[in-house]
Amino acid sequence: MPPRASKRKSAPPNSSSVTSSDGRSVSNKAKTKGMDKIDRLFNTYANSSLGMIDPEGIEALCSDLGVDYTDVRILMLAWKLKAEKQGYFTQDEWQTGLKALGVDSLTKLKKALPELEKEVEEPSNYEDFYIYAFQYCLTEEKQKSVDIESICELLNLVLGVQFRPQVDSLVEYLKVQNDYKVINADQWINFLRFCKEQISFPDLENYDATQAWPLILDNFVEWMREKQS
């Protein structure tokens, strides 16, 4: 999906990219000043020995922002920052992310959150965010799948608002079934597609199990149909 990839590359001003060096030449001073403020904000929350914001720092940030740290907006912030590791923001991530948001203080960041929410909900960003949410949960080296419990929470978090009935049923199913203990990226992305693709819900009449849907969705649909009949 080229548009998504290019968007992801060009949207955040990269320090080495042409645009940012141009920007620096135009208002180098203002930029540096902004950077200072961003860095200062970073240092407020950072764990000085690690050189990055750790889970405690994020918790502090959340309480300062007045949102729960399990709030979806924090996940969105992590997405915007392109945070690599769950529970941590590096200085680089913080700088580029906040710059992209155009904020340099806590109050501005707080105000930017609703904007961020809108940005995420744009169709072109949503899938990216959705996939990011999964990858964000891969905390171990070479981990490729996420346990069912976390997946259920994550589903509630990222899909709950838009597709409440689907998510409720799916979560219920995931908790009762015994075939799968973990969910992989392919299954995860297909959950979103299942919700988005106008599969009539809850009767699921136009769902075709002979298609390439992951087996877990076939099983889910079968479970739903059984439950209804």
Partner: protein, 865 residues
């Protein structure tokens, strides 16, 4: 005279005035008319045809043709009216005779009249486009005689009455009938059709409708068909006797429709005599008749075929789901074969070998044979039984016949891989116990399997035969080397089996008696002396032994027992009484095996060389066993307990299934990758279809399982969903180069995942890539250091032939020498041929290898003493 002579004469036409007599035409016509009257009155002998012809000629010449023609029409019409009247007047049966006679007369008259009026026929009629004389005669006959009201209906009624009489068995004048229908045909096809055939068909339809109704109420199916066939033949005969040949199709259609088509469902399903009963009672004649008759009507054969198919399926289904039947596998398969023979015979003798019927039969068998998952096992058991004893003393041709039949059943199996699994087990037991009837028959079947399923299917089976042969040579060498001291001690016969070729069985050990241990050690030393670096382990659970035993009153017997039983009996050399626990401790035979062997030693009447206290059928941990002094048998040789293959118990069956399912996974994945390599982009349903097609010669993969494999491949990043049509298309992510050398390079220099390498290695095997490429791949395995490679390595090894194995081993030995210590373990675990590699390993650091998996390499079966 001379002047006169000189005068040239001119010859001129004789000039006379042609006097046109105004009454000429009238007069001439009168003559002709008179002649016509005379002709009709049979007085033609007095007429001068020459004169009449001239008159007619002159009339035409003098332009009185019109008068002549119209005069003819009038005269003929009036005569025909007379005829018509006379025919009408004829009474009853004479009617047809009269009509026939008059028709003959009319024909004759017409002949003469036409001769007289020949000139008119030739010149006047064509010029004025009038009807020629002969045709005119026919037309007038048709209009005036045949179509006269009184005659037309009467004629039909009489004709049909005659047919009816004939149908009911009376004899009628067929010649007369023939003349009349001939007349109708002469009058033109439309006259025949409209005046006769059309009504005839209608009347016949009514007749047969009634008759078939009557028959079907009163007859059974076979009888009905006989009658229908007879009727059909009668009609065909009738047509040949007195009807137009073209009527045959039409009248047979009527009979077919009324007698067969309208009743075919009822006939086929007729209670107690329908198709199913005919099949059950093997009424080939009736079946053949049904086939011939039903073939004539649309959908007739389809109906017969459908009913037959559903019958075969139902009975087949009952057969394979009958728990009683499933108790005796040999009988079960024999029953299937008998069934097949029976249906084959029906199709050859009654259904004229109809291809569509054969196909229906085959698909039905395929359907129900695969209804029970035990079929592959049972067919293998059947073969086992035949090759053990069933074919003893049977001629070579008959053996081939039986084997061919088995192959036919084998073809119906969808799960051929399961058959292979069982066949391997059963063959192993046959070979090891030396119970096979004929090696030729064994080999013949393997050749058949190879033709059917290809080299891969039988390569391991052939490996087993090779092992047997090699073992014979080894034993000869061994005995030759052992010279003197052999005579007193036990005789040992060992079969050295290559791991991998033989079915894997859990190694169960037991404590062999000291006497046996000694000779076993000798063999071990001999064998390892000639084959350095190999590993031997004893498969005591598969051996047999012959024991010489002396009982209380001095009676001697030779006991043929299993190795386990031998171990138990040898204990009683030193004591008369042992408890179960003592035996268990002394021999260390696994509990279930020990109980089974004690049961056959102590609880089988006539073979109870041991006594058990307390007496009971089952072995308990608290039982005590005594040497049975009073053992007697009328035979010198006593055979105790058999290792004959038996049907698996339910849990064993489940286990085998599970193993097969596991074996299938890589096969399905390989098929998917093969397909995706070729197609690059393919939608889900097509992948499933192609995978099924590729694998159906071995088994029928379940679509859900295929889906699972696809998902697994996606997860392992071999495949990818198409980014746009994520449900429709899959796309091979890891692109393999065709150029293997380049690929090697690429693999070494890129961070491919271990799984990808595994996959690639396996792919190479399937693609029959050159050995150096495959072994080079394996050479690189250590650098990736993942246990997943074991699978791939093993996969490659199993597909190498002997020459390549050596080459491969060389590569691996080098890699070990180079020091991929971290990977040694997985490599060695995967090695089926570790002779040289083991040496290298020992050289490096043998102590670090766990004993448990070094042991696993070789199995030795059949221990005799």
């Amino acid at each position: 005279m001379s002047a006169q002579k000189k005068k040239a004469f001119q010859i001129e036409a004789f000039k006379h005035r042609v006097v046109v007599d105004p009454k000429y035409a009238e007069k001439t016509w009168k003559i002709l008319e008179h002649a016509i009257h005379e002709i009709y009155n049979h007085n033609a002998s007095g007429l001068s045809f020459e004169e009449l012809y001239r008159n007619a000629y002159n009339m035409v010449l003098h332009k009185f043709g019109e008068k002549l023609y119209s005069g003819l029409v009038t005269t003929m019409t009036s005569h025909l009216k007379e005829i018509s009247n006379s025919v009408e007047a004829a009474q009853g049966g004479l009617f047809l005779d009269e009509l026939n006679r008059k028709w003959a007369e009319h024909n004759k008259a017409m002949q003469m009249i036409r001769d007289i009026l020949m000139y008119m026929d030739r010149t006047f009629i064509p010029n004025t486009h009038k009807t020629p004389v002969h045709e005119l005669g026919l037309n007038l006959w048709r209009d005036v005689v045949i179509h006269s009201y009184a005659i037309q209906s009467r004629l039909q009624a009489i004709l049909f009455e005659n047919v009816r009489r004939e149908r009911s068995g009376e004899v009628i004048d067929r010649g007369l009938m023939r003349s009349i229908t001939k007349m109708l045909m002469d009058l033109g096809p439309s006259v025949y059709q409209d005046d006769f055939e059309k009504h005839f068909l209608e009347v016949s339809a009514d007749f047969y409708r009634l008759e078939s109704q009557e028959f079907i109420e009163s007859c059974d199916c076979g009888e009905y068909l006989k009658k229908a066939e007879r009727r059909l033949n009668e009609e065909i005969e009738r047509v040949s006797h007195y009807m137009d040949a073209r009527s045959e199709v039409r009248i047979t259609n009527v009979v077919e429709k009324e007698m067969i088509e309208n009743h075919m469902h009822r006939l086929v399903q007729m209670e107690n005599s329908g198709l199913v009963n005919m099949i059950v009672d093997e009424k080939y004649e009736d079946l053949g008749r049904m086939y011939c008759l039903f073939r004539r009507v649309p959908n007739g054969l389809v109906l017969v075929r459908d009913v037959m198919t559903s019958y075969i399926r139902d009975t087949g289904k009952q057969l394979v789901t009958d728990p009683e039947r499933l108790k005796d596998p040999v009988d079960f398969v024999q029953h299937l074969l008998d069934l097949k023979d029976k249906y084959d015979k029906i199709i050859t003798s009654a259904f004229s070998n109809d291809k569509t019927f054969q196909n229906a039969l085959n698909s039905s068998f395929e359907y129900f044979i695969n209804l029970t998952s035990r079929s592959p096992e049972f067919i293998s058991l059947f073969v086992d039984d035949k090759l053990r004893k069933g074919l003893r003393g049977v001629t070579e041709e008959d053996v081939e016949l039986v084997l061919d039949k088995v192959m036919m059943l084998f073809r119906y199996l969808q799960e051929k891989d399961i058959f292979e699994k069982y066949y391997k087990q059963h063959l192993a037991k046959r070979l090891l116990s030396g119970k096979t009837v004929s090696e030729d028959a064994e080999r013949s079947l393997i050749v058949k399997l190879k033709t059917e399923c290809g080299y891969q299917f039988t390569s391991k089976l052939e490996g087993m035969f090779t092992d047997m042969k090699t073992s014979q040579d080894t034993m000869q060498g061994f005995h030759a080397s052992q010279d003197v001291d052999i005579a007193d001690g036990p005789m040992l016969s060992v079969q050295v089996l290559t791991t991998g070729s033989w079915p894997t069985q859990p190694i169960t050990t037991c404590n062999l008696p000291a006497e046996i241990m000694g000779i076993c050690e000798k063999f071990r030393n001999y064998y390892l002396g000639t084959h350095t670096g190999r590993r031997l382990s004893w498969q005591t659970n598969m051996g047999t032994a012959d024991l010489k035993a002396t009982f209380g009153k001095g009676q001697k017997h030779e006991l043929n027992v299993s190795t386990y039983q031998m171990c138990v009996l040898m204990l009683f050399n030193n004591t008369d009484r042992l408890s179960y626990k003592e035996i268990e401790q002394a021999t260390e035979i696994p509990v279930s095996d020990l109980k089974r062997c004690l049961q056959s030693l102590a609880c089988v009447k006539g073979k109870n060389v041991l006594r058990k206290e307390p007496m009971s059928k089952d072995i308990a941990d608290t039982d005590t066993f005594l040497f049975n002094d009073k053992f007697t048998s009328k035979f010198f040789k006593v055979k105790i307990g058999t290792v004959a293959a038996q049907r698996e118990s339910e849990p064993e069956n489940q286990e085998t299934r599970q193993r097969v399912e596991e074996d299938r996974k890589p096969q399905i994945e390989a098929a998917i990758v093969r397909i995706m390599k070729a197609r690059r982009v393919l939608d889900h349903n097509n992948i499933v279809a192609e995978v099924t097609k590729q694998l159906q010669s071995r088994f029928l993969p379940n679509p859900v399982v295929i889906k699972k494999r696809i998902e697994s491949l996606i997860e392992r990043e071999f495949l990818e969903r198409d980014k746009v049509h994520h449900l429709l298309t899959l796309y091979l992510f890891f692109e393999l180069e065709k150029d293997n050398a380049r690929l090697d390079f690429q693999l070494l220099n890129s961070e491919v995942s271990s799984r990808q390498l595994l996959y690639h290695t396996r792919e190479l095997c399937y693609a029959n890539a050159s050995i150096s490429t495959s072994s080079n791949m394996i050479y690189k395995v250590p650098s990736f250091c993942h246990s997943v490679h074991i699978e791939a390595v093993t996969g490659v090894l199993f597909r190498l032939d002997a020459g390549n194995r050596e080459e491969y081993c060389e590569v691996v030995r080098n890699s070990i020498a180079v020091g991929f210590v971290g990977c040694r373990r997985s490599l060695v675990t995967a090695m089926p041929f570790p002779s040289s590699i083991m040496q290298s390993l020992e050289a490096v650091k043998i102590g670090t290898l766990p004993e448990s998996w070094l042991k696993r390499r070789f199995k030795v079966g059949s221990l005799e003493s």
